[in-house]
C-alpha cells in the first residue's frame, strides 16, 4: 500500500471516520456532494491539517498518529497536491512554478529546468515556459499545476477537483489527458471529484462520502 488512512478527519460537525488505502498504480476517486469533507481528506494527507485520531501512513513512513505525537511536516511527506484553486505562484513564470518543488529538494537549477521541460511536454504545455500564470487560460493553468505536482515524482498524487475550474472544451481535453498521464504515474493517486463522468473516465476505484 502506498498510502493508508484509518481514523477521523475534519473538525466539529464535519468530523468523519474513514478507512481506506491506495496502492501504487491505483486511482482512488473520493466522491460525494459538496461540503462532504472531500477536500479535507486531501489536506489531511498532505499534512496541512492534522488527523483528529487514528493513523496515517505511507509505505515508508508514518505520517500522522495524534495519540503518540507522531507527525511528519508537509514538506517532508512524499506526496504532491493539485489544489482546487490551483495555487500557481503568481510572481513566477511557468517553468519556475514547475521547478519549484525540485529546487526545494535541492536539485540543481539546470537539472530542474530540463526535468520541468520534459513534464511540461507531457501535459502539452511546451511553448508556455516563460509565460506568467495570469497570461494563461483555465485549462492551461490546470496543466501547469499538474506538471508541477508530477515533476517531483511523489509516491502519492492528490488531485482536488481537477476539472472543476475549467471550461467545457478544456474539460474534454483534460479528461483525455489525465488517464494518460496517470497511467504512466508509478505511485498512488487520490482524486476528489463530485462529477460522475470524471470518475468513470479516470478512476480505478471509488470511495463515496455521503
Amino acid at each position: 500500500m502506498s498510502i493508508s488512512l484509518n481514523g477521523s478527519v475534519g473538525r466539529g460537525e464535519f468530523e468523519r471516520t474513514l478507512k481506506f488505502s491506495v496502492a501504487d498504480g491505483e486511482v482512488l476517486a473520493v466522491t460525494g456532494p459538496n461540503g462532504s469533507g472531500k477536500s479535507t481528506i486531501i489536506h489531511t494527507i498532505a499534512g496541512l491539517v492534522p488527523l483528529r485520531s487514528g493513523h496515517l501512513e505511507s509505505d515508508d513512513a508514518i505520517w500522522d498518529v495524534p495519540d503518540s505525537q507522531q507527525w511528519v511536516a508537509p514538506e517532508n511527506r512524499t506526496c504532491a497536491v493539485v489544489f482546487q484553486d490551483l495555487r500557481l505562484f503568481p510572481h513566477m513564470n511557468v517553468i519556475a512554478n514547475v521547478s519549484y518543488g525540485l529546487r526545494a529538494h535541492g536539485v540543481s537549477k539546470d537539472e530542474a529546468h530540463s526535468r520541468s521541460t520534459a513534464v511540461l511536454a507531457r501535459v502539452g504545455m511546451s511553448s508556455f515556459e516563460t509565460r506568467r500564470p495570469s497570461e494563461l487560460s483555465g485549462g492551461e493553468r490546470q496543466r501547469v499545476a499538474l506538471a508541477r505536482a508530477l515533476v517531483v515524482e511523489p509516491r502519492v498524487l492528490l488531485l482536488d477537483e481537477p476539472l472543476s475550474a475549467v471550461d467545457v472544451v478544456s474539460r474534454a481535453a483534460l479528461r483525455e489527458l489525465l488517464p494518460e498521464v496517470l497511467g504512466s504515474f508509478a505511485g498512488a493517486t487520490i482524486l476528489v471529484t463530485h462529477d460522475q463522468d470524471d470518475l468513470e473516465a479516470i478512476a480505478t476505484r471509488s470511495l463515496g462520502l455521503f
Partner: protein
C-alpha cells in the same frame, strides 16, 4: 463619466483644511532667500548636517527593514497568548512623543542605563552622543512604521500559496523567502520609504539621546532648530531641503498610498 456633486458646505470645510496645511508649507517657499540659496547650501555646516542626516537615515531605514520584516512576519503568523501585547509594544514608539523616546533610550542605553551601564563598565562602550546613538534613535521611532505596513501585508497574504509551497517540499524558511517576501514587496518598499522619511525628520529622541554636535551628531532638523534664533534665513533654506525630501517621498509613493492597493 459624470463626476459626483459635492455639497458647497463640504467644499468650504475641505478648502479650509487644505489651506491650513498648504499655507505654512508654501510660506517657506515664499520666504526662502532664493538668491543666496546656492551659497547657503554649500556652507560647511549645511553640508555636514545634510551628510549626517542622509547617512544615518539610510542606515536606520536599512536596519528597520532587516529587523522589522522578520518581526512583522512573527506578529502576523504566530499565535502566542501575548501577541496583542507584543504588537502594542512594537508600535508604541510611533505614537510616543519623540523626546520621551529619547529619555527611554537614555534610561536603557545611557552610561547609567539598565543595559548601558554594563556596556560601559565591562566594555567601555558609551553610546550616548555618538552617531550610533543617532541611528538608534531613528530606528526606535521609524521601525514601527515599517512593521505596521509589512505586517498588514503578511496578514492579507495568500496562505494558500504558502501551503502549496509546503506541499512541494519547501521548508517554512524557504516559503518565507520565496513566496511570502515577494508577495509583500510593495508593502516592504512603502514601509522602507516611510521609515526613511521618519528617520530623516527625527529630532526629539535623537537630540536627547545622541545630543547635537556639528559634524558629528547634528542632523538637519537639529541644525534648523539651532538656527531659528540665530540665522533665520539659513534655517528657512534647510527647512526647504527637508520639505522637498518629504514631499518627494510621498509623491513617489502616491500610487501605493493614495490610490489604495
Amino acid at each position: 463619466m459624470k463626476s459626483q456633486r459635492v455639497s458647497p458646505a463640504l467644499k468650504v470645510v475641505a478648502f479650509i483644511a487644505a489651506i491650513f496645511v498648504a499655507l505654512p508649507l508654501l510660506s517657506i517657499f515664499v520666504r526662502v532667500p532664493w538668491s543666496d540659496l546656492g551659497e547657503m547650501l554649500s556652507q560647511k555646516s549645511t553640508r555636514e548636517a545634510l551628510l549626517i542626516s542622509l547617512q544615518t537615515s539610510i542606515i536606520a531605514a536599512t536596519i528597520s527593514c532587516i529587523f522589522g520584516v522578520p518581526l512583522a512576519w512573527f506578529l502576523a503568523r504566530s499565535s502566542t497568548k501575548w501577541l496583542s501585547v507584543l504588537r502594542v509594544i512594537c508600535i508604541t514608539p510611533m505614537v510616543l512623543p519623540p523626546v520621551v523616546g529619547g529619555i527611554a533610550l537614555l534610561t536603557a542605553f545611557g552610561r547609567r542605563g539598565i543595559l548601558g551601564q554594563y556596556l560601559y563598565d565591562w566594555f567601555n562602550v558609551s553610546l550616548p552622543f555618538t552617531r550610533t546613538a543617532v541611528v538608534m534613535a531613528q530606528v526606535f521611532v521609524a521601525m514601527p512604521f515599517l512593521v505596521l505596513a509589512v505586517e498588514a501585508a503578511f496578514r492579507q497574504s495568500d496562505r494558500g500559496l504558502e501551503e502549496a509551497a509546503r506541499t512541494m517540499g519547501a521548508s517554512p524558511s524557504r516559503v518565507f523567502f520565496t513566496i511570502a517576501l515577494p508577495a509583500a514587496r510593495p508593502a516592504i518598499i512603502a514601509g522602507l520609504a516611510l521609515a526613511w522619511a521618519r528617520s530623516l525628520g527625527e529630532f526629539g529622541a535623537s537630540i536627547t539621546f545622541a545630543g547635537s554636535f556639528p559634524g558629528r551628531t547634528q542632523t538637519l532638523p537639529m541644525a534648523v532648530y539651532e538656527l531659528v534664533s540665530v540665522d533665520y534665513r539659513l534655517s528657512l533654506v534647510l527647512s526647504l531641503v527637508l520639505v522637498f525630501i518629504s514631499v518627494g517621498v510621498l509623491a513617489a509613493m502616491r500610487d501605493r498610498w493614495m490610490a489604495g492597493r
